[in-house]
């Protein structure tokens, strides 16, 4: 059986008849053809698949596409405003918050969630806010720096 699903991915509505078992991450990667969202594990641990569903973070490998039917999903490709990078993207770049880049899309969106719920997090709060996202390259230190930097930029911009 298939079910009709319509999800707006980064502003573009995508409609497909999908098997109910299809995960949101596959919908995004295969049908919306946005491959920035990564699959790093199969047990909801690594966070590489983190996206925003209606502005709130979710692990797209632990969400059925059909659960997100009718919603609006933002992935790493939808975070920047045209050529204008989101402050988090700028900060990850400026603070060397990435190496191989595979965890980065999920890491940036998890950071987005952290700053949505806490605009001025402490170092400890940043580290806890990223507990669901794994990085094997950076030892997290420059990611923490990047999030702090972005928080400051975003506070000044307000």
């Amino acid at each position: 059986m298939t079910v009709p699903v319509r999800i707006t991915v980064n502003g573009r509505p995508v409609e497909r008849d999908v098997e109910p078992r299809l995960l949101l991450v596959h919908f995004i990667r295969v049908f919306a053809e946005q491959t920035g969202t990564k699959i790093g594990c199969d047990t909801s641990q690594c966070g590489a698949c983190t996206v925003l569903i209606d502005g709130v973070s979710a692990k797209s490998c632990t969400t059925l596409a059909v659960q997100a039917d009718g919603s609006s999903v933002t992935t790493i490709e939808g975070l920047s405003d045209g050529e204008q990078l989101h402050p988090l993207q700028e900060s990850f770049w400026n603070k060397h918050g990435l190496q191989c880049g595979f965890c980065t899309p999920g890491m940036i969106l998890a950071s987005h969630e952290l700053l949505r719920t806490n605009a001025s997090p402490s170092e400890a709060e940043i580290r806890h806010g990223l507990e669901g996202n794994m990085c094997r390259c950076t030892g997290y230190q420059n990611i923490v720096r990047a999030v702090r930097d972005a928080a400051e930029t975003m506070a000044t911009a307000k």
Binding site: K38, G40, N94, G101, R127, G139, Y140
Partner: protein, 792 residues
């Protein structure tokens, strides 16, 4: 600019594509007509395959083909081992791409399904009926070497017997070890330790995968592969699949980390090639994370019995050890060299050790093949020495820092030969330790510790001094130690008419940032803007041959090749500038991208002027070729030897056994730093990986050979909230033989940090009488060690 760009922490040039999701990794490659492969892997660690029935799977919706071991017979050769360790009785067991008779670990492939859609392939794999006759399994390397152990392989690839599961027995020796120990027994100290370097799962965040596209009309194959060394993959893919090297193109697109696990060549990748060739369609195979745990190479797995002889005043006189190194079910590509050449030769560490002997037994076990894992052999050597020195310090009632000082090789700047015959290039080990102790307030920390535990929490300090061999390495040495390849690197530098530069390198970075640091090398050597330099890598059709990115060698070897290539360009440019300025070459000077007549800086040509003229070639000196391009193949004269000293500070909760890492300082000396921000990032990541081994990580098998830590739910990786900030400092000691003086930094953190954390935890628990704990330091293990010490 050239004076400042080398050493500047500029932003990485690779990042814009990575922070916007536009980078393409192997998993992101989609081709017209693509089909999807899923492997069926053995559910037994050791078993005879009695029946495989693929009929139901083959008939399932969307299935294009199902292949078993019988189908690849003759089409896919066994996976080769490429490090033929000499003088070791090396016995290479046949490593088929698909097991036909006997499976040797729970990841062994027994069949592959190819389907139109990925979910269909997953569904169909479930329909394959495979029957097994289970055989006894063994996963501990020491047990596997024992007399009663189940035997994995009867014969090696040459038809010779493999006895006692022994893949090789390798020895390194120097000095009179027996005399050293006899003397220490009589009038000195002998320390004995048993060290378990547990099995680790590398966990590159990007799982492995392959996309194979075979063109039946041309006989050409393109393989997108998650690899650290596409040229080696092309070489070995040609050997295994029979596709001639000239018709094989291997592309390492964006690669999401490797840490050693993407050095090896793998059965699944060759099977994907086979499927594409059989079906005449592109085929994609991407492993799941659980599959990665089950079948992508693991690291470490040593059982070490070590003895140290010393005088009563703490001077080391001898080192003797026996290592059982688990190799897993088959010898992976570079595996035999890891616990031997890269381990045994490093056993002098930063110290003057007059006599040592090590016996390394490489042992087949029913586990995932073991390969290089960040540090590869050197962390196991550093750990051994750094642990023994702390034990010696405890035995003699000395501070661990003092025992290190007593044994350090004195400062040297142009070569120092150690007992293992390596000739270290340059170093100041006492200076590094002193700076670390000053910086961290070591004495004050010791005083705080002496005040006793607070709230049941015990403070511990752990030091680790290290030197590592990297910049692999002279190809002549590679040949002598059995490595079936060269170890040089290459670079082609091409100037375009507008002065923009393309650089093509044979190495294959996958997160280390060489698109930036290599642009900085070009910028500093010839005065162009780093932003005008684009580095190409990872495509065997587009780049010169190279041996890959591992062993902290890309900057140390590839960076040298690049610097020398740019210097060739500079030499040619100087001749052309002299011609255009109607001066003699001897009268020309160069600075900051400008070639000028000595004493007349306004009579000059910029490198951009020269690039234009060289490319249009309207006015060249007689006999000069058009174009501005140079290539270099750099074969290093020696290895390079980065070093450093690290300090870990922990608090251990005696009531629960919980270890809290409260501080960590790394001092590393990798020579002049091209980009200190990138260097610091490498140290952060490396240190945390080593911390992971000490505190959290460990692959565990049960008695039947099933991987108990089979997913990220069970195998604990370092997370942001479990770590303190890492304080990174450095000293700078040039390598005397390297064109840029640089060494390497990729593995340094991992090599030092495991021992530092281990020493800190044992140091914390010294008042309670705890002497050793097996890694990782799970709370229960720490708690049990405390209970046992209390009881004794």
């Amino acid at each position: 600019m050239s004076s400042r760009i080398f050493g500047s922490g500029i932003r990485r040039r690779e990042d814009p594509r990575l922070i916007t999701g536009s980078a393409l990794y192997t998993h992101d490659i989609t081709l017209p007509g693509m089909a999807y492969a899923v492997m069926l892997r053995s559910s037994h660690a050791h078993a005879r395959i009695t029946r495989i029935d693929t009929d139901r799977a083959a008939a399932a919706p969307g299935v294009l083909a199902v292949y078993t071991g019988a189908d690849i017979e003759g089409a896919l050769q066994p996976v080769p081992c490429a490090w033929l360790l000499p003088d070791s009785g090396l016995k290479i067991a046949p490593y088929p791409c698909i097991a036909r008779d006997v499976v040797h670990y729970t990841g062994d492939i027994v069949a592959v399904v190819v389907a139109e859609e990925l979910p269909q392939a997953h569904d169909a794999v479930e329909l394959i009926e495979a029957d097994y006759e289970p055989l006894p399994a063994v996963t501990d390397p020491e047990q596997a070497a024992g007399a009663d152990a189940p035997q994995l392989h009867a014969k090696d690839v040459n038809g010779d017997d493999i006895a006692g599961n022994q893949a090789f027995h390798w020895t390194v020796a120097g000095g009179d070890v027996d005399a050293a120990f006899a003397e220490a027994e009589a009038d000195g100290v002998v320390i004995k330790e048993r060290i378990l370097q547990q099995r680790l799962i590398p966990n590159a965040m990007e799982p492995r995968g392959a996309v194979a596209q075979y063109n039946r009309a041309t006989g050409e194959l393109t393989l997108w592969n998650t690899t650290q060394n596409p040229h080696i993959v092309r070489f070995l893919c040609s050997v295994v699949t029979g596709i001639p090297e000239d018709k094989l193109r291997v592309i390492a697109p964006e690669v999401g980390g490797g840490f050693g696990s993407k050095i090896a060549v793998y059965p699944a990748d060759f099977i994907t090639v086979f499927c594409s060739k059989q079906l005449g369609r592109p085929v994609k195979w991407i492993e799941t994370r659980s599959e990665n745990y089950q079948a992508t190479t693991h690291g470490r797995d040593h059982v070490q019995d070590v003895e140290l002889a010393a005088t009563k005043d703490g001077r080391i006189t001898g080192l003797r050890c026996t290592v059982h190194a688990g190799m897993g079910a088959y010898l992976s590509t570079a595996a035999p060299g890891i616990p031997t050449i890269l381990h045994g030769l490093m056993l002098s560490g930063c110290y003057t050790i007059p006599a040592l002997k090590e016996d390394v037994y490489g042992v087949y076990t029913n586990g995932v093949p073991v390969e290089a894992y960040r540090g590869a052999g050197r962390p196991e050597a550093t750990f051994m020495l750094e642990r023994l020195i702390d034990v010696l310090a405890g035995e003699l009632g000395m501070d661990p820092a003092d025992v290190r000082r007593r044994n350090f090789i004195p400062k040297f700047d142009d070569g120092h030969e150690v007992i293992t015959t390596l000739n270290y290039d340059s170093g100041d080990y006492p200076g590094a330790l002193d700076k670390l102790l000053d910086h961290t307030g070591y004495q004050a920390l010791r005083e705080r510790q002496a005040a006793g535990p607070s709230n049941g929490k015990y403070l511990g300090l752990g030091l680790s001094s290290y030197v590592e061999i990297c910049g692999l390495g002279p190809s002549q040495v590679a040949g002598a130690i059995g490595f079936q390849g060269g170890l040089w690197e290459s670079a082609i530098v091409r100037f375009h008419p507008t002065g923009k530069v393309h650089v093509f390198i044979g190495a294959s970075p996958h997160g280390q940032g060489e698109e930036t640091t290599f642009a900085q090398i070009v910028a500093s050597e010839i005065g162009v803007d780093a932003g005008d330099v684009k580095i190409f890598h990872g495509d065997t059709d587009a780049t010169p041959m190279g041996w890959g990115t591992y062993g902290s060698r890309t900057t140390a070897v590839g960076g040298a090749a690049l610097a020398l290539a740019v210097r060739k360009i500079r030499d040619k440019a100087k001749v052309l500038a002299a011609h255009l300025l109607e001066a003699s070459v001897e009268d020309m000077d160069y600075e900051d991208g400008k070639f000028f007549v000595k004493g007349s800086p306004d009579k000059s040509k910029t490198i951009q002027d020269i690039a234009l003229m060289a490319n249009v070639a309207w006015d060249l000196p007689e006999g000069m070729e058009a174009g501005l391009e140079a290539s270099t193949f750099y074969d290093p004269p020696n290895f390079v030897f980065p070093y450093g000293a690290h300090l870990a500070v922990v608090e251990v909760d005696a009531a629960t056994g919980q270890v809290d890492l409260t501080g960590y300082t790394a001092l590393d000396d990798c020579g002049p730093q091209i980009n200190p921000v990138i260097v610091e990032g490498q140290v952060h990541g490396g240190v945390v990986q080593g911390i992971g081994q000490a505190l959290w990580e460990g692959a565990a098998y049960d008695d039947s050979g099933q991987l108990v830590t089979g997913s990220m739910l069970d195998y604990a990786l370092p997370r942001a909230d479990l770590l303190p900030p890492i304080d990174v400092i450095s000293t700078v000691t040039r390598s005397p033989h390297h064109p840029l003086g640089v060494k390497g930094i990729g593995e340094a953190g991992t090599i030092a940090s495991t021992a530092a954390v281990y020493n800190a935890v044992i140091d914390a628990l010294k008042p309670l009488g705890v002497k050793r704990i097996d890694m990782p330091f799970t709370p229960e293990r720490v708690w049990r060690a405390i209970q046992e010490a209390k009881g004794s």
